[in-house]
Amino acid sequence: MNKKDGNVGVTPGIAKISTRNVNVYYGDKQAINDVSIDVDRENVTAFIGPSGCGKSTFLRSLNRMNDTVAGARVEGQILLDGEDIYASGMDVVQLRARVGMVFQKPNPFPKSIYDNVAYGPRIHGLASGKAELDQIVESSLTRAGLWTEVKDRLSESGTALSGGQQQRLCIARAIAVDPEVILMDEPCSALDPIATARIEELIHDLRGKYAIIIVTHNMQQAARVSQRTAFFHLGHLIEFGETSDIFTNPREDRTKDYITGRYG
């Protein structure tokens, strides 16, 4: 693999999402510098790196959530199944239905549990009737490992659940529209260890069904849940490879320093 900046993450073969020479700016400040990476569908990919390294920024540009930030600008190519998501013909609504997102802090809508999960299918017209919608809600909650806990109180408010349950509700909400990719932005940082363990289990279960990209601060978590890991530092992609290689045998000194806790 070419060590030159900008080609670090390029992996030959079919990728679900591939980016080429992506730069992201917030106003005058450059947050991401020449990042090229290929993320495949079968594996869970972790983005790690010290705070402010741009990993969340990069994640948010993969479903164009940076569009909502005033002054944010993305250069370069981001391809989803070979299609440029920043091309003028790309419909953001369609894109986000294909690339779902789970946020750092659980953010269920102030609606019932049922309506939270049904939100996406309703918006995108995925169900043709009440029975079908019920079916989608049940299967999404089941996949998110929440069904048995909430099946008797679907009409209660989603905000009344515990933090961990809320986060699983958000995952259920994301998978209800049957996305191809799920982006997770530090999904466990607001949760206690038990809830974290349940989310990690869930990520294991979801692997293979969706391409999953998870941003995390927690290196043990990256090691536990991911098969591939990308290390970001100061807006650059430093190293990308098999998780086991990154953690046991990093090629770059900066990666090694970070993993061994020398900084970050």
């Binding site: 005033a70 609504v93 986000r96 946020f103 809508f109 102030p110 918006i123 995108h124 994301a174 529209v177």
Partner: protein
Amino acid sequence: MTGTALLFLVLGLGLIGWIAGRARAAAFVRSAKGGPRGTVNSLPYYHGWFVAICAIAPALIFMFIWQSISPSLVTNMVLSAPAAADLPQEGFARAAILSEARAIAQGFQATAFQDGSEKLVPLYEGALSYYKWIGVAATVLLLFAGGAFAFTRIKPDFRARSKVERVVMFGLLVASLIAILTTLGIFASLIFESWRFFSMVSPFEFLFGTEWNPKSVVTPGADNGYGAIPLFWGTIFIGAIIAMIVAIPLGLMSAIFLTQYASASVRKWMKPILEILAGVPTVVYGYFAALTVAPAVRDFAVMLGVSNAASDNALAAGIVMGVMIIPLVSSMSDDSIAAVPSAMRDGSLAMGATKSETIKQVLLPAALPGVVGGILLAVSRAIGETMIVVMAAGYTANLTANPFATITTITVQIVALLTGDQDFGSPHTLAAFALGLALFVTTFFLNYVALRVVKKYREAYE
């Protein structure tokens, strides 16, 4: 010596006390320099303030009290003189003579018109000057006593700072109590006058009667034309229905535009302009309603084929009132929409919802309690609004839902009842207080509910 001169004297002596206290403290601060830390508790100017406060506060409080009790002391002194013995005993003539004598003695009036007031003038002059000098002497004495007491307490370890802090706190407390006590006072006077009204006109007639045509002489038990239902209806129809039909959608939409769609630069000039709208005097809205909107509405009604459209119609007043309320609804909604965590909005956008879907399905439901609170405040503002309806809505009580008809409101009738040539005890005047009480209770209730709703909502997100 006049009251103003005395006041300046007190303040001047207080200033001297301040300077003296500060100088005395400064002396030991200088001598303590270089010594162990903490030997001097407070900075010199705190000592100065302590002396000034101890000197001025009791003197001012005494002046205030003396102001209110000295007139009766003066009167008592005059009445106890033998020359006052042949005054008429009846209240009115007696009071007239006394007040005239006092006015001449104080120089407000040149000559006497009432028999017998002339000879009381010297008595008044004597009594007034006697008590005035007592007041001045006591004030100055208190001032020096307070100042001297404070001055002797100035020592390096004296905690002047915390004493002054406590006075500051007390001053702030008094300032905040004044608003509350005023409200209570207004409420009490409304209750008292309404009570007098209801002893003449039955509350049942007032609250449930449908005919408003108040007679100036009331017959107990009969129908006196004090049925306030048409006024209540008119107030609700104009303030809570027509005005809100205008203000709620426009205010809400402008808030949505400003928070969600407008770019920062557009928001920067648009929001202040909207807020200026809230500062336009309501009498100006009144002109606008009466001279521009009302004729236009009548012409429109005639065009529609409504034959009985009045020129002072409810619709014109309601529309203009609604426009007046837009900034209130808009800024309350703006605040509560902006207070919805952006994570909520991002969550919805990340699901592939469009901006308007996000607003309709996530932001507005989450902001609803705040929006409802804003609307309730707006309603309470609208039903208490006077100028617009006085100028544009007319004076005829009318129980109708026809927006082109003349309708009157509670506030208009209060103005009409109080500007008439009626004496203070007449049922007309007292009816104004009963109407005021009804309005006060309603707006108080609306404000209370609105604040509760808003507070509950805040708790849900923090």
